[in-house]
């Protein structure tokens, strides 16, 4: 008898992913940036740098960095910040750590909530479904982008008054809460429709007819069939939230100095673009590279997991 090789969907996906050269390359780039971000304290120490130290000797009397490319040197590979004289390399490393953290926490949280509510709506239907549906309709109607800007500062004060987190901690918490609050309905809708069609599938019916509890059906039968959707959504929402964090800190909502993120650096850099274009281009290039790599990785993951697209 000829052997029929049965592979699990995970194995098939992994095999497909491994064949995708762009996917592998982008995964390596993403890992590299993650290493830079989360190894920031270590790396900056190796370079003998600090993200809060002001290297004022490197600035001229108008506060501009001395030397080409915004003061690029062996000591300061990305140059110095005009005005305050901080090391741009360390600023961006620490900044990307914040950006990554926001993106990861937000994506995971909104997928978690979306998953729970989506399954609940799709599996139980009826009133629960209607309630969740109406609520997400309502959320969609709010101009979320503007609301985040308008409400984040008062919200920060509220959160600080709780006394758990303060300052940038509170600001990030608020930003993440807002992102998740406005972010889950998208995924929940996706999950809901999938859960509804799964519910009608034979294996779920079979489990139901055998008297399996709803909890068991959801965790043992439905979740394993929904995880590829979640992974694809995760990989595509990471770059989105990363960029969103940059946009909000660019607009002055979100993190404050002495911490720094891409958005903050960029909003500062455009004031110096004529005198110090490198200070604008370096963070631009780094942010674009990260988002690009994440997008490519997301595409590869989707291609590997999505059975529909050939």
């Amino acid at each position: 008898m000829s052997e029929v090789i049965l592979r699990t969907p995970q194995q098939i996906a992994w095999a497909r992913f491994r064949r995708n050269k762009t996917g592998i390359a982008s995964a390596i780039v993403v890992l590299f940036f993650l290493f830079l971000a989360y190894g920031a304290p270590l790396i900056t120490r190796l370079f003998g740098l600090s993200s809060t130290e002001t290297y004022l000797d490197g600035l001229d009397p108008q506060g501009m960095p001395i030397g080409a490319g915004g003061g690029i040197s062996w000591q300061h590979p990305f140059g110095l910040e005009p005005g305050a004289g901080r090391d741009v390399f360390s600023m961006l490393l620490y900044g990307s750590r914040i950006s990554f953290s926001v993106a990861i926490i937000t994506s995971v949280a909104s997928i978690g909530i979306g998953m729970i509510l989506g399954i609940t709506a799709g599996y139980f239907r009826g009133r629960v479904d209607a309630l969740i549906g109406r609520f997400s309709d309502l959320l969609f109607a709010f101009p979320s982008f503007f609301m985040i800007i308008a409400l984040s500062i008062p919200m920060v004060e509220r959160v600080e008054s709780l006394g758990i987190v303060r300052d940038n901690g509170a600001r990030l918490t608020v930003l993440i809460i807002f992102f998740v609050f406005f972010g889950w309905p998208g995924f929940a809708r996706l999950v809901r429709s999938q859960a509804m069609s799964l519910r009608e599938r034979d294996f779920i019916m079979a489990a139901q007819s055998q008297g399996a509890s709803n909890w068991r059906i959801i965790t043992k039968e439905m979740l394993p069939n929904l995880w590829p959707t979640a992974i694809v959504f995760l990989s595509l929402s990471l770059p989105g939230y990363l960029a969103a964090e940059a946009v909000f800190s660019f607009l002055g909502v979100g993190i404050n100095p002495p911490a720094s993120t891409f958005g903050l650096v960029l909003s500062d850099a455009i004031k110096y673009w004529r005198a110090d274009p490198a200070y604008l281009m370096i963070p631009c290039a780094m942010l674009i590279s990260i988002v690009l790599a994440l997008n490519l990785l997301g595409d590869a993951v989707r291609d590997a997991l999505d059975t529909k697209s050939e």
Partner: protein
């Protein structure tokens, strides 16, 4: 005299990352006007693939097709395999038509039934929009849709499954084609509706004098309507004969297995249903010998292990009854009797 459609040595394969999927191998069959050819086989046996090739419906980029399929039209024969894509397109609908298994998904959900039929008619006939709808109504009436004039303005989702298939048939026949390929036309339908549709096809065949190719996995369906039957397995035709040949004098172990797995009430005697053990072969890595060999209970009876090494040829065992087996018919019959 040559038949209307003559398919000779048709090979269809799809190159994929995992290897070449050889969906149809050296397939030959023919069907004449007024005749019904049934092609029977499990899913993946190559029966649809071959006929889609005849219709020219494969994606040319992703499919490799060799062999020939000649339509003997009034103005001369055309080989649809070697003909240009545009030539074949002009034959579709007019000279040959096809209906599909799931009439729900085969009809465009956004257009009315009448529009979809009229669209096909307008392709080969000059006439106003009104004429088109009139023709569509006529056809719907012909395929037995009550109140056809108003139903022509309905959308597919407003039709029941059987009615959709009737509408599909009406659409396929609107240009009076000489060949109708019906790909599992009844599989998605209720049993009572199935026979109605089959009867309809039979009636229409008489009216239009069409050649019909009925693709099915259901031998029960075949007995009522077919003149000839081709049994396919693993991308090859394994047996080809008249209805009587196949049902009463099967010469291939796979056909035998198929017959044994069909419940027969008429037989009146105790009959044990028997499934064929094992799985259909992978079309990427076909067994080197007979494709059915791994599942064949008689393969051990063939000396020198020819079943595993050599592909048996499709040989005429007499009076146009063809079979692809190393065992000859008499030996097989004996073996069957022994077992019983």
């Amino acid at each position: 005299m040559s038949k209307f459609l003559e398919v000779t040595n048709l090979n269809v394969s799809f190159p994929t990352e995992d290897g070449e999927v050889r969906a149809s191998n050296e397939v030959s069959y023919s069907v004449g006007l007024g005749e019904t050819l049934a092609i029977v086989g499990e899913s993946g046996s190559g029966k649809s693939v071959s006929n889609l090739a005849v219709m020219g419906l494969h994606n040319p980029v992703r499919t490799k097709i060799t062999g020939s399929a000649v339509l003997n039209l009034a103005d001369g024969p055309v080989d649809v395999i070697s003909a240009s894509a545009d030539t074949v397109r002009r034959l579709r609908g007019k000279s040959m038509s096809m209906i599909f298994q799931d009439p729900m998904s085969a009809l465009h959900p956004f257009f009315t039934i009448g529009d979809q039929i009229a669209e096909a008619w307008h392709l080969y006939n000059k006439g106003s929009k009104k004429d088109g709808i009139k023709k569509a109504t006529e056809m719907l009436d012909l395929v037995g849709i009550p109140d056809a004039a108003s139903r022509a303005h309905d959308y597919p989702h407003q039709f029941s499954g059987g009615m959709r298939q009737r509408a599909m048939i009406a659409m396929a026949l609107v240009n009076n084609p000489s060949l109708l390929i019906a790909d599992e036309p009844t599989t998605a339908l209720d049993v009572t509706v199935q026979s109605q549709i089959l009867q309809l096809l039979k009636d229409l065949q008489k009216e239009f004098n069409m050649a019909i190719i009925l693709i099915t996995h259901d031998l029960g369906v075949v007995a009522e309507v077919a003149d000839r039957i081709c049994v396919m397995y693993g991308g090859r035709i394994v047996e080809d004969g008249t209805v009587d040949d196949i049902f009463y004098r099967p010469e291939h172990p796979y056909t035998l297995g198929l017959l044994n797995s069909v419940p027969r009430i008429t037989a009146g005697e105790s009959h044990r249903l028997r499934a064929i053990p094992g799985q259909p072969p992978s079309l990427i890595s076909l067994p080197s010998g007979c494709a059915f060999q791994p599942r064949c209970e008689y393969s051990t009876k063939v000396s020198s292990g020819a079943c595993a090494s050599t592909v048996p040829s499709l040989s005429d065992k007499g009076s146009g009854h063809l079979s692809r087996c190393h065992l000859d018919a008499a030996d097989l019959n004996n073996l069957v009797k022994d077992k019983a």
